[in-house]
């Protein structure tokens, strides 16, 4: 498949009659990474005739394997499906906090958390689907548009992106497009601290786009437009960074005694069709950043990715990917053998 891609590209460049500078900057630095064989389950989600997925920016599973999808449809919707894809229900129809979906995550108690980039809110539903807690407030229509600030107010977000928790229930929020910070709250939603500003130095961010916490409380922040994953301790002190895996649009840490870190170097949603030949793959890593393998590439067919925006990897051999430009969720069954090949960085 890769050979085909390169051939297509050379033909493309020939047809364009020019040789645009190849966008090496978007290509992941990691080379000779083993390919992990995988399959995509066809026709995964079955919606009633009157409901449709739009941009499937959020996907997560709960402890029973039920699948939650937060989508930018005509309006923003949150849908729940059984593990086999049968539609269960819509949660929060017409909710005041739903405007422009960004992410959904399920905590260890199966509470459902959504991050809405349009209303600047993080919303916690209990497993029944009742609103339990809110962080952030939707701006009033007459309010002046929010400005990016070096000292963001503790409880005001500016286009937040993702949420994660440690074992004690502390809440970590990546915020986001407008602010460039990570904020920590206790389990009751009380502000503890916030770090980061816009920039390229360690503990600075350029669009912190996803966040994950491992079982020891270490915090991983996908610093998308700086092409790196930054790692912090539980008090948000900077530890290290992984910068070999391209632009991390979506990251995920699996459960179980041996945790893995997944990161998607998603293809651009802009008009960068040449760059898409070099992006779209998902990496599987050890928590220390060792790259175990990669799988997939950009495209619209089953098993190809249309700008992956969120990953669920509760089961590390069964990854769910929510895509922007193809309006779908894929369930990816990874081959466990290939995943054990280690490659030095």
């Amino acid at each position: 498949m890769n050979k085909t891609s390169r051939f297509d590209l050379s033909v493309l460049l020939l047809l364009l009659g020019e040789s645009p500078a190849l966008p090496q900057s978007v290509q992941a630095k990691a080379q000779n990474v083993p390919e992990i064989p995988f399959e995509s389950v066809p026709g995964l989600l079955k919606l009633p005739p009157t409901l449709h997925l739009g941009e499937a920016v959020g996907v997560a599973t709960n402890s029973k394997g039920n699948i939650f999808v937060f989508t930018r449809s005509g309006e923003t919707h949150l849908f729940e499906f059984q593990p086999n894809g049968t539609f269960v229900r819509e949660i929060g129809r017409g909710l005041y906090g739903f405007l422009f979906a960004h992410a959904v995550r399920i905590d260890p108690q199966d509470n459902i958390w959504v991050v809405d980039e349009g209303t600047n809110m993080v919303i916690k539903f209990d497993p029944r689907g009742r609103v339990m807690m809110l962080i952030g407030r939707r701006p009033e229509p007459s309010e002046a548009p929010s400005e990016a600030s070096a000292q963001p107010a503790p409880y005001r977000f500016n286009r937040p992106t993702d949420v994660a928790w440690d074992a004690a229930g502390n809440i970590f929020i990546s915020d986001g497009y407008g602010n460039s910070r990570v904020a920590k709250y206790n389990k009751d939603g009380e502000f503890i601290k916030s770090i980061g500003s816009r920039g390229t130095a360690p503990a600075q961010f350029n669009t912190p786009h996803a966040i994950a916490v491992d079982s020891r409380g270490t915090v991983y922040v996908a610093d998308r437009n700086n092409f790196r994953i930054q790692v912090f301790d539980n008090d948000l002190n900077y530890k290290t960074m992984y910068d070999q895996v391209g632009a991390p649009w979506a990251i995920c840490i699996s459960q179980g005694s041996h945790q893995y870190l997944y990161s998607s170097n998603s293809g651009s949603t802009n008009n960068e069709f040449v760059a898409r030949f070099y992006t779209g793959e998902i990496y599987k890593m050890e928590l220390d950043g060792t790259i175990l393998g990669r799988f997939g590439k950009s495209g619209k067919q089953l098993g190809e990715f249309g700008s992956v925006h969120e990953l669920d990897c509760r089961n590390p051999q069964e990854v769910l990917a929510g895509e922007i430009t193809t309006w779908r969720v894929q369930k990816l069954l990874l081959n466990s053998k290939a995943g054990s090949v280690k490659v030095a960085r």
């Binding site: 009157t50 005509g74 309006e75 548009p145």
Partner: protein, 353 residues
């Protein structure tokens, strides 16, 4: 001494003038094709309205799909951006004109309808000028492919940063790539390659393979061969020639499947909607639609594929058998056309005699 170029110019002007006279005569000579019309063939249930009919297409069973500018457009403010939804609706009717259902209800990106076409496998393709999207639905109405991307939001008044605009470059530059800027229409060749006329902003034709991978793009704003002034409609014949309605330049341009220019068809006014009937002998229909600001022109031409005029019919107006800015023609059966009208908010089924 006369400047040689000036002499040449004079001669060319004379030739052009003669040509204009000739074409006027030819146009005048195009025989009127007699036709009947039904404006209530498609029967809407009480409480459902079309609005401006931007797209009309039939499938192999004769079902009609209408993509119209109707319904309620919503705009909601977030922190610094305004999010829009709604504004266009897709309806399906059976071959007798009976209303079957509304499709794509609440779907993302149905903002400002521009076209609908049905491919050889009865997939339904929507072209939305407001969301810069081409959406492929299977015959059940489920999304099976998306081309382009809806701009995420409109910036709040006086501020930039709408984000994810899905565009690039200045208008008319014919920016290459798989995002659109005001797309207008879609067509396929016999192997399933996809051609999109794009459109109001971009002035180019984009070609994709059957799986939606971008292959190439040609054209930019201009008057030369291979340039466009609002490419507004596109159709392919059985030999995979690509016909592009170029209304701003008052012509149809014909290309091979790789975008190499082959020929021009003119003397048909400003073609806003074109259609090629699928069965041999194939005919090309082209509407010299009236500007929505008035009722000039409006006639539809029937041509052979080489551009030879067969005849013309109709004119602009509000009555039955008159046309209010035809934006789409369906010609699956060349003597039984469906035309979608913007300013008359209706579909007429025409029977040519």
């Amino acid at each position: 001494m006369r400047h040689p170029f000036r002499e040449l110019f004079c001669r060319m002007s004379a030739l052009l003038a003669a040509g204009l006279v000739l074409t006027t005569v030819l146009q005048g000579q195009a025989p009127e094709i007699a036709f009947d019309s039904s404006a209530d063939f498609l029967k809407l249930p009480d409480g459902i309205y079309f609005g401006e009919v931007a797209g009309i297409a039939t499938n192999s069973k004769g079902h009609a799909f209408v993509y119209a500018r109707g319904g309620t457009t919503l705009a909601s403010t977030g922190g610094s951006r305004t999010f829009t939804s709604g504004g266009s609706r897709l309806f399906e009717f059976d071959q007798t004109g009976k209303f079957l259902r509304e499709l794509a209800l609440g779907m993302y990106g149905l903002l400002f309808a521009e076209g609908v076409r049905v491919d050889a496998q009865d997939n339904i393709w929507l072209v939305d000028r407001g969301s810069n999207l081409v959406i492929k639905l299977n015959s059940e109405g489920r999304v099976s492919m998306v081309l382009g991307r809806k701009p995420e939001a409109a910036p709040a008044p006086g501020r930039g940063g709408g984000g994810g605009t899905g565009r690039g470059g200045v208008p008319g530059a014919g920016v290459a790539g798989d995002n659109f800027n005001g797309p207008t229409d879609i067509a396929w060749d016999t192997t399933g390659n996809i051609f999109v006329s794009d459109g109001y902003g971009n002035a180019r034709i984009a070609k994709f393979d059957r799986n939606g991978a971008f292959i190439k793009s040609w054209g930019q704003k201009g008057k030369e061969a291979g340039q466009f002034d609002t490419p507004h409609s596109i159709a392919l014949d059985a030999s995979n020639n690509v016909y592009v309605a170029d209304p701003g330049n008052r012509r149809i341009q014909v290309f091979d499947t790789d975008g190499n220019f082959k020929s021009l068809i003119s003397n048909i006014g400003a073609p806003r909607a074109i259609c090629i009937s699928p069965q041999p002998p194939q005919f090309l229909f082209s509407s010299n639609s009236n500007d929505p600001a008035g009722y000039e022109d409006g006639e539809i031409y029937k041509l052979e594929l080489d551009g030879k005029l067969v005849g013309r019919f109709g004119r602009a107006g509000t009555k039955i058998k008159q046309f209010g800015t035809v934006n789409a023609i369906d010609c699956r059966r060349p003597n039984e056309l469906h035309v979608g009208e913007l300013i008359n908010w209706r579909v007429q089924k025409l029977t040519l005699r």
